[in-house]
């Protein structure tokens, strides 16, 4: 008895298909109440503007609102992120650099001091956006760098003026990785928002208790601005740092949602081990598969020899056996990535459509050796790869396979393993002598993958790229508001980058997202908005 891939996909299709049915056809009225149990992460602290941490952002996804947000629910296909108003009831864009947001009326802060349930106003939004770009230590501030000023036109109207057109502005505001709206009084009272007492938002749940290293408990916000929501009264989040412990807990029904990554999935390597036990013990479990947006790549010093020669970079890409890597490391379930991860299906180009550059994604050691010889490296060369494990056996195994692939074409690379902190401080920011291998932050829109990694002098431009062609296209896509046209430019960028191979992209895993059958109107997606995805969900038990 085992679930085949076909069965899983069918289940996933059924789960998604259910959303397309009219409400009456589903014949299920949402029930109020109950406690959902999830695996959660212990935030280093709660001030999302003073840290880049998915742990903090996930916690705030339960308690805070944003100006705009990504739609959630079974009607949204994983890997897509349609926008809708959150605190903003509507918005207009009178010109390329101006946005006017009309706020919902009657939105109340959580009934906790110092705000004590007062109404949210345009001043709060203005304060949040200004703090986001001015507070010292916000390394996400670049997301709103094009913002020039924010005005509270009246109590319910916010006007944002940009210095230059920035087509991703709304996507940045909607990102659950950054801009939750906060109250000035909280910052004034607590000095910053690091303490649990300062977790006061306008979101669907309120933080009821926080036990460091143990749990976060959220209770329903009775004054949430969307009538009737959330349906679930209480969310118990358990900090469960050990893989075997949380898998055993999930198998025995402790958690309602899968326990790995923010997509609520089970790692494929573990899934293979426990799926039979799960089928017996949790027969109602819902399963959906979709590509993950955690993408690893080999970056290299393209400002130095030998990597400054495009033929060397192309040879390296040809050397990597991507399908072999999927088979060996990802249990056969993975997707090839170009410059934009395949998971972002609205923006990513499949390898077959990369044009001339598509051929560099094939595994062709003979052609790789030929290109190396043409570049003057007939005997290959020696190099090093800076690396940290991130505690992931998948990453360690894939690094070994990449080393072997390079060696097969004459590139003798040594793995220089660093401790995580040392890696982040050096190699992750482009400070390495030869090459680096590791995952990138899993953003939800392509700009963060492209502009940040390819634009000159950006801190995440690990490969030290100074290419005026790509820089021009990167700026152009940012200034193109017509989505179809912007998509064309982003496709053009991917085709161009496929030929250049500034980074050797490695396949991503396909996630197996699972959730309890009793959890209705829930659908997984990428991104940290777990609270958002549970807001309209309900428990049928």
């Amino acid at each position: 008895m085992s679930w085949t891939r076909r069965e899983l996909l069918a289940l996933g299709g059924a789960a998604l298909g259910g959303a397309a049915l009219p409400t009456a056809a589903r014949a299920q009225t949402p029930k109020r109440g109950g406690t959902a149990s999830v695996r959660i992460y212990d935030p280093p602290h709660f001030d999302h503007m003073l840290i880049i941490s998915f742990k903090t952002n996930i916690a705030l996804s339960f308690t805070h609102s944003r100006l705009v947000k990504h739609k959630t629910g079974p009607g949204v296909a994983p890997g897509t992120f349609p926008l809708e108003g959150d605190l903003a009831e509507s918005w207009t864009q009178p010109n390329d650099t101006t946005y006017v947001f009309k706020l919902r009326r009657g939105v109340k802060w959580h009934h906790k001091p110092p705000v004590n349930g007062r109404e949210l106003t345009a001043e709060d939004v203005k304060y949040t956006l200004e703090r986001f770009v001015t507070v010292k230590g916000n390394s996400n501030a670049y997301m709103l760098r094009p913002m020039e000023r924010v005005e509270a036109v009246d109590r319910y109207t916010v006007k944002v003026t940009l210095k230059e057109p920035f087509a991703w502005f709304l996507d940045m505001l909607a990102s659950p990785m950054a801009i939750a709206v906060v109250a000035k009084e909280c910052v004034d009272k607590f000095g910053d928002l690091k303490k649990a007492e300062a977790v006061i938002g306008t979101g669907p749940w309120m933080l009821d208790s926080y036990k460091p290293n143990q749990s976060l408990t959220f209770v329903r916000n009775p004054n949430y601005f969307l009538p009737g929501l959330p349906h679930i009264d209480r969310v118990e989040g358990s900090v469960d740092e050990d893989t075997s412990s949380r898998l055993a807990s999930f198998t025995t029904g402790k958690y309602d949602i899968g326990v790995e990554t923010v997509a609520g999935n089970i790692n494929k390597v573990d899934w293979v081990q426990i799926k039979d036990a799960l089928k017996q013990k949790r027969p109602g479990l819902k399963v959906v598969e979709f590509p993950g947006n955690v993408m690893s790549h080999v970056s290299m010093r393209t400002d130095q020899k030998p990597f400054s020669d495009v033929r060397v970079r192309q040879a390296m890409s040809l050397a990597v056996d991507r399908q072999g890597l999927i088979d060996a490391v990802l249990e056969g379930a993975g997707v090839f990535n170009a410059a934009v991860p395949a998971a972002l299906k609205e923006w990513a180009l499949p390898v077959a459509q990369l044009g001339e550059g598509a051929r560099y994604f094939k595994h062709d050691p003979a052609e790789a050796r030929r290109l190396l010889a043409a570049a003057g490296y007939a005997n290959g060369f020696t190099a090093s790869i800076c690396f940290t494990t991130y505690g992931s056996t998948v990453l360690i195994d894939s690094a070994q396979l990449i080393l072997k692939s390079f060696k097969d074409v004459g590139i003798s690379a040594t793995l220089e393993q660093k401790e995580y902190g040392a890696y982040i401080a050096t190699c992750f920011n482009g400070n390495f002598p030869s090459m680096t291998y590791g995952p990138q932050t899993p953003f939800l829109e392509p700009d963060n993958f492209l502009f940040a990694q390819y634009y000159p002098e950006e801190p995440k431009n690990q490969s030290h790229i100074h290419d005026p062609v790509v820089a021009d296209m990167l700026v152009r896509q940012r200034r193109t508001f017509d989505v179809a046209k912007r998509r064309d430019i982003i496709h053009e960028i991917q085709r161009y980058l496929a030929k250049q191979q500034y980074y050797v992209q490695v396949p991503s895993a396909i996630y197996t997202s699972v959730w309890d059958g009793a959890l209705k109107n829930y659908a997984p997606n990428l991104g940290y908005d777990i609270g958002g995805r549970l807001t309209a969900a309900w428990l049928d038990r």
Partner: protein, 314 residues
């Protein structure tokens, strides 16, 4: 005399603690990658890094930072976490008891296993019981605790659907549950120590049992229990107690993994995360407390020598 000795030892411990403070202060700063780079991660523009270092006071000369920290230590203030701004003392008050309880249970279990089994093994040398005990000890030393812990958690869940006993129950919430939660991790943590102590107990006891005064005791017709427990064990156990002191340090380090697996919010996990985050005040505070604890335990052990062996006088 003992009192004078202890005062002298305490006085001698002060330079040790001072040197330890210098080491725990300096070493974390020598690891590549500082706390500011980790805070700002991938979007670390040079200007932002400098500003943040200034904000946290990390731009001052290192000796100034050290003496500043030392001044606070003398006043009982271990500083506050650079990440969370929570006082280190407050965190330790919450987490230290968890690790101490776990360590206490582990040590108790280690002693309860090691001494009886070591005695039986020594007094029944080269019998089936001795071979069994020695084999078990080697197994206990060889099998990693995290592996046993993983099996203990995963297999019952898959075979019988038993939900793993993980997470932390506070004493005020459920007294029995609070105590019970330490049994399984305590046993796992104690097994390796028990194995080491058992082998040492056996070896030392065998040596003592061959001493002339023990032969005399046998010749006097004393019962085995008296010969072994009264005349032999007290002499044999002194090195065991010394090793017990060392085992305590090992148990604290082993607690890092066991606490993570069993979801116990102790000091081990706290220290591990602090090192990853280069949270200097936390690393310094926790290590200083651990060092002080080990100095104290060794002091207690020294005092115990005199109690166990009347020949030892200070």
């Amino acid at each position: 005399m003992l009192k004078r000795y202890l005062v002298k030892r305490l006085f001698v411990a002060l330079p040790s603690l001072l040197i330890a403070s210098l080491i725990v202060f300096t070493l974390p700063r020598l690891i590549p990658g500082d706390v500011v780079q980790l805070m700002l991660e991938e979007k670390a523009y040079a200007k932002d890094l400098d500003e943040m270092r200034a904000k946290l006071g990390l731009d001052r000369p290192i000796y100034v930072q050290y003496f500043d920290w030392l001044g606070h230590i003398v006043r009982g203030d271990l500083g506050e976490s650079l990440w969370t701004r929570r006082p280190v003392t407050e965190e330790l008050q919450r987490r230290l008891p968890v690790t101490m309880e776990l360590g206490f249970v582990a040590i108790c279990i280690a002693i309860c296993i090691a001494l009886p089994v070591g005695i039986i093994s020594a007094t029944r040398q080269d019998t089936l019981r001795d071979y069994t005990a020695r084999s078990a000890a080697i197994l206990g030393l060889s099998v990693p605790g995290f592996w046993v812990a993983t099996l203990v958690i995963v297999l019952p869940a898959i075979w019988w659907g038993w939900r793993p006993v993980t997470g932390y129950t506070e004493f005020s919430a459920d007294r029995i549950g609070h105590l019970v939660q330490f049994v399984l991790p305590g046993v796992i943590l104690g097994i390796a120590s028990a194995a080491a102590l058992m082998r040492l107990t056996r070896g030392m006891l065998l040596e003592v049992l061959r001493q002339d005064y023990v032969r005399t005791a046998w010749a006097k017709g004393l019962r085995e229990r008296v010969v072994v427990l009264k005349h032999s064990l007290r002499n044999a156990v002194i090195p065991v107690i010394t090793v017990l002191g060392i085992q305590i340090a090992q148990i604290v380090s082993g607690a890092v993994i066991i606490e993570t697996i069993f979801g116990l919010p102790g000091m081990g996990r706290f220290l591990f995360e602090a090192i990853n985050q280069r949270d200097y005040p936390v690393i310094q505070g926790v290590n200083l407390v651990v060092v002080s604890g080990i100095v104290f335990v060794n002091l207690v052990i020294d005092a115990l020598y005199a109690t166990i062996d009347p020949r030892i006088r200070y």
